[in-house]
């Protein structure tokens, strides 16, 4: 992977295809929400870049393709394969992520459009070859349908009374990064912009919202449906196309009529409130970028069960309906405004300006987040902004230290360090920072990684702002936008459309043009290298020389995620005479500097002390060292580096910093440092901060939490009332009786947040017995009792939730009075617990009758109940949470219940509990619940790696493995989530709970010994669980258990999976020639046209042809590849490295046989006619049961044996029979190991029956493969 980019710098994703896409029509004529089906047609106008174009690779998943037609005249044969349906391709024994990663990346690259690959390979028939000519447009029409898609399109059909539109049934598309292929065939690349015409026919009372300008809406002739016609003249790449259909209410922004908002029925009042500031964001961006909003319209659709809060697409964004709020809601407003601003920013960078390679994803992500952060700064203030930056920085640091340094753009290695530097040139860091997942494709990365990558990209963009100045950086953006705007006016022929793509190199060049500064070093340092710096600062004040002797160490450079920083570093010293900044050059791991202090003034003069802001303040200087003028030190105060800092300074300096430094990030740092110094002075500083009305509210809240820790550490000598009680009463107590809280009035938002925080912080207090002081509990209960919101303009739902949270926080582990073993009953709980329980049950019950906004109180109650369970006050019992986790509850409640269940499973869980969670993670109707549930399991895993645990069993390994390997081809994000979980549980190696197979060892030995195809059979029964030979049978155990669940799978059931038998893993071809119904008459053309080989060959050839210098394989060479798959070919395909496709010597090539025969093998049985292909002009629509019959077929087809498939000379019936036998065998393998031998015999017989045929077909591939190691060792 490093290869292609390093080898030829010019090779970018937009140039990887042998054609350009000029225009695409997407016409969905049958969107049936009730049946969750789509029938449609796409037409791609492509311009070949060479005359010899024979195969066109497109992306399509889940779709059932009826036919492909070129220029309305020539039907083209096509092949379909999706390696994600079985990533490890028959490598059934491994179970280690090490092995999986390689295969995962290989699979991803095999369909990566930027790698000139795709699931759908269309061959141009010879009779149409005259149409192909360089620069002559070719129209490629594809008819397709998809029923109950598992991913990519989400249908929300509430199960209640009323018509579809009354119920608010709707659908929308979603996806992880570039996933448009899930709902229509396309070139699913960010680097292939084209113009679009989009047409959607929907029910009369539905609205279809999509990208581009709505040209017109027309009734269909039967007047029962409407067709929406959209035109998008701005070249846009397919991943930025989306669709939402539903009975939306429409609201035109009163400030900007080109902005249209859509929400579900009954939510209009909320919509008006939530979107009232959207125009400000538009105006802000337009002014900041000095560029007009690039599109002619903007649409924002609020949908339920959205996958993410916001997903931006060209001219529209699909937004979660849960962002809506009324005027009375405070907390959500911040989130909503930020989210919407982000969505609009992504219109500029992300949608309008797309990226050239996937590896440039940091640019649109970083720039759009940077822009939205500027907006947030304007909206919410500089403090909020700086605090945000600091939090992001800390998050990036934490992630990198845990998992490894994130390289924003890994496509190109940083230039070697020039030798001019004094330090010896460090050896170039290994390009792969050692993640357990491949970081070289968007679809294999951990979702968490992508999340942090966005943050890092934002920080790097901000660093860039510091380097070149905001003005100039904005000019760079402006230049990009202007260039792109100009390109939009041009036709595709102009070749200017590439201006709409941004890449690291383009960006660096643009910076150079605008500023004259060469940022190459910066880019190398922060974009092409991963990790962050870690500084440890200590200092000594030298009285004699009146200097500060600084020492900055970077000791941990060898640790994960940390790298050495060389360059300038800003140190700020606050002295009595003012703030002084010093820029130090950091080179070695230890940097020392003597800084002469300025302050000669007499301290007893009682002079005011100037701060960095220029203001002068009085300070009580009694605490500090009498000789030293140093008040405090700061390192890199403006966060201009990706770094973590540890500053050693005495506690009084931290206290000064907290009290007097004006920068919120410094205050935050001081607060977290003061946790280490539980002294009365710290306590006073914190208390003063909480009370300080000038301080930023987040600092005050943070100080409150810190004070809890300080107070707990000082518990032995704490005098007076519990910490913060007095403050709370002072701020919120009634005038006449401070112990009764005032009626709520949240107009002062600082106080509102403080009022929410202090009770929670106080609840964390513990007395000498380690329990929460009774007066604190009384205080909290009084807050409940006297809470009165009747005069408030704002809802107190978040406040009440935080009170419940506080109650939960008071709970400490039970000191058991009751003897062990007796059940806890309502009578036996302690009196304190009773009080707590009473409050919680009352709140929770009240929510049933009078629910508050987003059920925040219920959420808090569930968390508190779990806490009570965990600490032994209540019996640990999952049933309550299970009912709250049901589909149909509000998502926040579900997630809270799931969080409790995850925690329960960790502590007390048994196998059924784990199964419950996994079932949900696999099958829940809401994609975001699936995603977040796995994230919770990753954060709070059911058991620690390599600790004995009752859940750590083979069954779990098999289930997870099966999921990541072949069940989640429709949802790469979910698969990567499961990979994360697998990693957390088992690491990168083979799980310990699996029987360490001496058996496997035997297997290997045999492997080496037996070079005959017969070895398969001998080996087969040796593996206990998964017979090695049955390449795809690893899926079968799961199918036995979860076959039913897969029913809702994609209509591509009749998956003809072809695999080489030699378990090479890497080399895989799956051909799906439609399903049974789709008669694609491939046989004929393949017989005629010598160049039509099985998919594997086609692909191989295609990739080989791209390296003409290296290989002389041409179409004519096809017969060589009669061996269906060349193991060594994939490296060629993947890396473009000149690895010659020489077959390893051990490879036993089968006797070559006529091509036609091979082809017939591939297509004979399963490429049956699809309805509407032969003779009929197109899909005619859905008929009841049209798919049903096939579905059962599909199910069996799915689990079909790779090996069987490769021996596809078998009649279909036989195959099925055999498959069933395998199924049985597996069941028996599990249950009755003794019967294995019998099975073996049976299989032997089976195979011997088939032997003759097998030999002709796949003897070559089934040969033992010493080459296996070759291909495995290939690293990217």
């Amino acid at each position: 992977m490093q290869g292609p980019y390093r080898m030829k710098k010019e090779k970018t994703a937009d140039k990887s295809r042998p054609f350009k896409l000029a225009h695409q029509i997407v016409s969905l004529t049958g969107i049936n929400i009730q049946r969750q089906s789509i029938i449609g047609f796409v037409e791609l106008t492509i311009v070949p870049l060479r005359d010899t174009l024979r195969n066109i690779k497109l992306n399509a998943k889940q779709c059932r393709i009826y036919r492909v037609i070129i220029n309305d005249a020539f039907e083209a044969p096509f092949q379909y394969f999706d390696p994600f349906l079985d990533i490890c391709q028959g490598d059934t024994k491994q179970r280690s992520l090490d092995a999986f990663s390689t295969a995962h990346l290989a699979a991803a690259l095999q369909t990566d459009p930027d790698n000139n690959a795709g699931e759908l390979v269309i061959s141009i028939p010879p009779e149409a070859s005259h149409l192909v000519g360089e620069g002559r447009a070719l129209r490629l029409g594809i008819e397709f349908s998809s029923e109950q898609p598992q991913g990519g399109v989400h249908f929300v059909i509430p199960n209640c009374e009323g018509t579809l539109s009354e119920r608010g049934a709707h659908m929308f598309t979603y996806g992880h990064e570039n996933s448009s292929r899930l709902w229509f065939p396309c070139v699913d690349s960010f680097a292939e912009p084209c113009t679009w015409r989009l047409e959607f026919t929907v029910d009369e009372n539905m609205t279809a919202v999509s990208c581009g300008d709505l040209i017109e809406v027309g009734y269909t002739p039967d007047m029962r449906r409407k067709t929406y016609h959209y035109l998008l003249n701005t070249p846009t790449s397919a991943p930025n196309i989306a669709l939402a259909v539903g009975p939306f209410e429409i609201f035109v922004d009163p400030y900007m009529h080109e902005v249209t908002l859509f929400c579900l029925p009954q939510l209009m009042p909320l919509l008006k409130v939530s979107a009232r500031y959207m125009h400000e964001a538009f105006e802000f961006y337009e002014e900041t970028l000095a560029n007009r909003y690039p599109y002619s319209c903007y649409k924002q659709v609020f949908v339920d069960e959205a996958d993410q809060d916001i997903s931006a697409y060209a001219t529209m964004s699909i937004v979660s309906t849960n962002l809506l709020h009324s005027m009375a809601i405070i907390d959500q407003t911040y989130v909503t405004r930020k989210a919407m601003a982000q969505a609009i920013a992504e219109q500029f960078f992300g949608c309008f300006i797309s990226m050239q390679n996937w590896s440039d994803t940091w640019l649109p992500k970083g720039i759009s987040t940077y822009l939205s952060s500027l907006y947030a700064k304007k909206c919410f203030g500089n403090n909020e902004y700086r605090e945000w930056i600091q939090t992001e920085l800390q998050e990036v640091v934490r992630y990198e230290e845990q998992f490894g340094g994130i390289v924003l753009d890994p496509s190109q290695a940083p230039a070697p360090v020039p030798s001019s530097t004094a330090s010896p040139a460090a050896p170039p860091r290994p390009p792969d920072p050692g993640f357990y997942f491949p970081v070289r494709n968007l679809h294999t990365m951990s979702p968490k990684y992508l999340e942090v990558l966005r943050k890092k990209a934002h920080l790097v963009m901000r660093m860039l702002e510091h380097r070149i100045g905001q003005e100039l950086l904005l000019q760079v953006f402006n230049k990009q936008l202007s260039l792109a705007s100009n390109a939009v006016q041009e036709k595709i022929g102009s070749g200017l459309w590439s201006h709409m793509l941004i890449s690291t190199n383009v960006f660096a060049k643009a910076i150079f043009t605008v500023t004259g500064k060469d940022m190459a070093v910066f880019i190398d340092q922060w974009v092409r290298t991963g990790g962050h710096a870690k500084f440890h600062l200590s200092f000594v004040f030298n009285r004699k020389r009146y200097t500060v002797e600084l020492e900055i160490r970077q000791d941990a450079t060898q640790q994960r995620g940390i790298r050495k920083y060389v360059g300038p570093l800003l140190v700020t010293i606050q002295e009595l005479d003012g703030t002084f900044s010093h820029t130090l050059q950091v080179e070695g791991t230890v940097a020392k500097a003597d800084i002469t202090c300025h302050s000669k003034s007499r301290r007893n003069k009682k002079k005011k002390i100037p701060l960095c802001t220029g203001e002068e303040v009085d300070m009580d200087l009694s605490a500090m060292d009498a000789d030293s003028p140093v008040l405090w030190l700061r390192l890199d105060p403006d966060m201009t580096l990706l770094r973590s800092t540890f500053i050693e300074q005495p506690d009084y300096q931290w206290q000064y910093q907290l009290r007097h430094e004006r920068d919120v990030t410094a205050q935050m740092e001081a607060i977290s440092a003061l946790e280490r110094y539980p002294t009365p002075a710290s306590r006073l500083a914190l208390t003063d901060t909480i009370e300080n009305e000038q301080a930023y509210y987040k600092v005050r809240c943070r100080a409150a939490h810190c004070l809890t820790k300080v107070a707990n550490a000082m518990v032995a000598n704490w005098a007076g009332p519990p910490a913060m009680l007095a403050i709370f009463r002072k701020l919120f107590g009634s005038f006449s009786c401070p112990h009764i809280v005032r009626q709520n009035n949240f107009t002062n938002l600082q106080h509102y947040f403080l009022q929410k925080t202090i009770p929670v912080a106080m609840a964390g207090l513990r007395n000498t017995h380690g329990i929460c002081p009774p007066e604190v509990i009384r205080f909290l209960l009084d807050l409940f009792k006297y809470n009165d919101n009747s005069k408030n303009r704002y809802s107190d739902n978040y406040y009440r939730a935080s009170l419940v949270e506080a109650l939960g926080a008071t709970v400490t582990p039970v000191i058991s009075v009751v003897q062990q073993g007796t059940a806890i009953t309502a009578e036996s709980v302690s009196s304190d617990t009773k009080l707590v329980l009473e409050e919680i049950t009352r709140c929770l019950n009240l929510e049933k009758l009078l629910p508050c906004y987003k059920f925040t109180v219920s959420v808090a109650c569930l968390k508190a109940i779990r806490k009570l369970q965990k600490f032994g006050h209540l019996p640990s019992n999952p049933s309550l949470f299970r009912s709250y986790a049901e589909y149909g509850q509000f998502i926040d409640v579900r997630l809270a219940a799931l969080e409790a269940l995850v925690d329960f499973t960790k502590v007390d869980g048994r196998w059924p509990d784990m199964e419950f969670l996994l079932d949900l993670a696999e099958n829940d109707p809401e994609p975001s619940v699936r995603h977040q549930l796995i994230r919770m399991l990753v954060e709070n895993p059911p058991f620690e790696r390599s600790h004995k645990h009752r859940l750590d069993k083979e069954e779990l390994v098999e289930r997870l493995w099966n999921l990541i390997n072949c069940m989640l081809s429709h949802d790469s994000r979910l698969r990567c989530n499961f990979v994360d979980l697998y990693y957390v549980l088992y690491g990168t190696r083979r799980p310990l709970c699996l029987p360490i197979p001496e058996l496997a060892a035997i297997l290997n030995i045999k492997h080496e010994r037996h070079a005959s195809p017969m070895q398969d059979k001998e080996v087969k029964p040796v593996l206990p669980l998964i017979p090695f030979v049955s390449a795809s049978s690893d899926t079968e155990p799961a199918h036995v258990t979860s076959g039913a669940k897969r029913k809702v799978g994609s209509p591509l059931r009749e998956t003809e999976v072809l695999t080489d038998d030699n378990h090479l893993g890497l080399v895989t071809v799956e051909i799906v020639a439609g399903d049974e119904g789709s008669k694609i008459n491939v046989k004929e053309p393949s017989l005629n046209g010598g160049n039509l080989a099985p998919a594997s060959k086609v692909r191989v050839l295609e990739s080989l042809k791209e390296e003409p210098g290296n290989l002389s394989v041409t179409a004519a060479a096809t017969p060589i590849t009669a061996n269906p798959v060349l193991p060594t070919v994939v490296p060629v395909t993947l890396a473009g490295n000149p690895v010659p496709p020489i077959l390893p010597p051990g490879m036993n090539l089968g006797p070559p046989h006529p091509e036609g025969q091979v082809k017939s093998e591939y297509f004979s049985d399963n490429s049956q006619s699809l309805p509407g292909i032969l003779g009929m002009p197109g899909p005619v629509g859905f008929e009841p049961g049209m798919f049903r019959a096939k579905e059962s077929d599909g199910e069996s087809g799915h689990s079909k044996h790779h090996r069987t498939d490769s021996m596809s000379k078998l009649k279909k019936k036989k195959k099925d029979k055999k498959k069933h036998k395998h199924k049985h065998k597996h069941r028996r393998d599990h249950k009755h190991g003794k019967e294995k031998d019998k099975d073996k015999d049976k299989d032997k017989r089976d195979l011997s029956k088939l032997k003759i045929k097998e030999e002709t077909l796949s003897s070559g591939s089934s040969s033992p493969s010493p080459s296996a190691s070759v291909s495995h060792e290939f690293s990217f």
């Binding site: 409130v273 929770l844 049933k848």
Partner: protein, 281 residues
Amino acid sequence: MDGLSSNLRRRPLQVAVAGLLFEVGFDNAEKMAHETLIEMTQSIICQVGLSARSYCELSGRTEPVIGDVIIALVNMGLPLDSIETHAKRSGRTVLPAPVPSTQPKQLSILQAGVKQSHPSHIPIHLPQFPDPHAYIRTPTHKQPVTEYEAIREKSASQKRDTERALTRFVAKTSDTHSLFLTEDTIFPLVACKPHMPPYLKALLPSDQVFEFEDEFSIPSCPTRGGPGPSRKARSDAEGEDDENLEELKENTEEGKGGETDSIDNPYLRPVKQPRKKKPKT
């Protein structure tokens, strides 16, 4: 009351009858006999009184004089002469004076408020002022508590009681969850039911009702309408626009119908009738 007062009156009679009997020479008397004699005596006295009053009223007076009594006695056939001798007989028993014991107490019960003393111009012999409640306003209910603390306390407990009663009722009348492994009546949790679509209840909370005055009335600006390219740069005309907005706000409120017409948004346009030529799929 009746029994008590008749007792009080009968007591002197009792004593008198007993004295007479003693005079006559009895040492002892049966209770029944004694009671009978008392009864007889009482009825004679009553009869005398009643007759005397009747005679006095007959002669147009309000208070009987001695003559009336005499006529009454005569009428009853009682000899008048022997009364004098009987009264002047020797050795007659002297009855002790009855003790008026309970009378003052009753006064204090009836007392309401402190009686006002006479002002100087009113002679002392004139009747005293009645109890003050007879002529000044006396609140008949307790003065409400105005103390803040108590009010808060009260309203809090009231609210709490209502809520508790409500939730208890619902918990009793519908399905419940239990926090414990067994059935639990102390902390019953109302079972959660999935409601479809789930977002409606969550986004349209019913715990409180807020009335928003038009805190943000959306000003419309038709001048700004139309698709993007025709829009002007914002910053230029900021000030003017703001003024326009003020003016427009009023217009908007009056004629909303006209306002929406001027918005040119493709989603607000009417749906076209099917063309003869079928749109291609």
